[in-house]
């Protein structure tokens, strides 16, 4: 009897595998790729200015003792429009927001900011995603919290919504 049960085991295993694969096919994997750079120092980069009057950003700018948000965005990114009002609110609360514009052009960016508002104190250009790749950022928008020593302490993937404000303020070391 026991032997017979063991004989059914391989078939049961194969069926389990088949069901697992079938389910995997029915619900495609939408994997959120989190950056491995959280907890590590910001990689060295220098992103040149893209708009007149808005300075670019370099890693050294983050070591001035003031925590800030590093927002990876693009004027061609629709969800990025949705988070501008929230970034504006954070700015109004005294948070310094700097932007890395990925694959962007000056006219498009100018239009984007004129239409939606400009929460950024600095905007660096990243035309070939070099900075984005070195940050371990897999898409736009993404927002990194960088502490005053230039260490990445938190990554927010996707649109920053109203309800994310308390968490971000906490990660920035500000009491909401």
């Amino acid at each position: 009897m026991k032997r017979r049960a063991i004989l059914w085991l391989p078939l049961a295993l194969v069926l389990t595998l088949l069901v697992t694969f079938w389910r995997g096919l029915l619900q495609p994997d939408d994997h959120v790729i989190a950056s491995q750079m959280v907890g590590k120092p910001l990689p060295e980069f220098a992103a040149p200015a893209i708009l007149p009057g808005r300075p670019g950003i370099a890693t050294a700018d983050f070591r001035d003792g003031k925590p800030r948000l590093l927002n990876v965005f693009a004027s061609w990114c629709l969800p990025c429009v949705a988070e501008v009002p929230v970034l504006m609110r954070l700015k109004a609360m005294g948070v310094d927001v700097v932007g890395v514009a990925v694959h962007d052009t000056a006219p498009a960016l100018e239009q984007f900011l004129a239409r939606n508002g400009n929460p950024y104190s600095r905007i660096g250009s990243d035309p070939q995603s070099r900075i984005q790749l070195s940050l371990g950022s897999a898409g736009v928008p993404e927002t990194f919290v960088v502490d005053g020593k230039g260490t990445i302490v938190y990554q927010h993937i996707g649109v920053v919504a109203e309800r994310d404000i308390p968490n971000l303020l906490e990660k920035l070391g500000q009491r909401p």
Binding site: R3, H31, S35, M37, Q128, S129, R130, L135, A138, G139
Partner: protein, 131 residues
């Protein structure tokens, strides 16, 4: 005079030739290009997740190919470039699983299944012979 002309011609040529974009253009060294392509075949595109970056038209896949070719052209070993990307995006970005404690089941389960199957077949044969 001739030298000045040569310099001018060289300048004109270099100004005309667009810079090579390694997102789309192969490396001139075939050995290095082969290394780069092998690496690109086993790195996952982070936006179009089921695809390797060698077969993706996404802009970001091109940006990853550019970095890979540039680094290999500069003399980096493919494994170092892979490690650089993994240090950014984690193991998920590589299609080539490493042997380490977390991935041990991946390597051991097939072996265990084979041994288990072998044992099952052998014991079954013995059982039959006895009958």
């Amino acid at each position: 005079m001739r030298i000045a002309f040569a310099i001018l011609a060289a300048l004109a040529l270099s100004a005309q030739a667009p810079p090579l974009d390694y997102a789309q253009v192969s490396l001139s060294d075939p050995v290095k290009e082969k290394q780069a392509v092998e690496l690109m075949d086993t790195m996952r595109c982070v936006v179009c997740q089921g695809q390797p970056i060698s077969g993706s038209d996404a802009e970001m896949a091109g940006d990853m190919r550019r970095i890979i070719r540039e680094r290999i052209a500069a003399g980096d070993r493919p494994d170092d470039v892979r490690a650089w990307l993994v240090s950014r995006y984690g193991d998920f970005v590589s299609f080539k699983p490493e042997v380490k404690p977390a991935t041990l089941p991946l390597w051991l389960v097939p072996l265990a299944a084979l041994l288990g199957g072998l044992w099952l077949v052998l014991s079954r044969l013995k059982f039959r012979r006895r009958q």
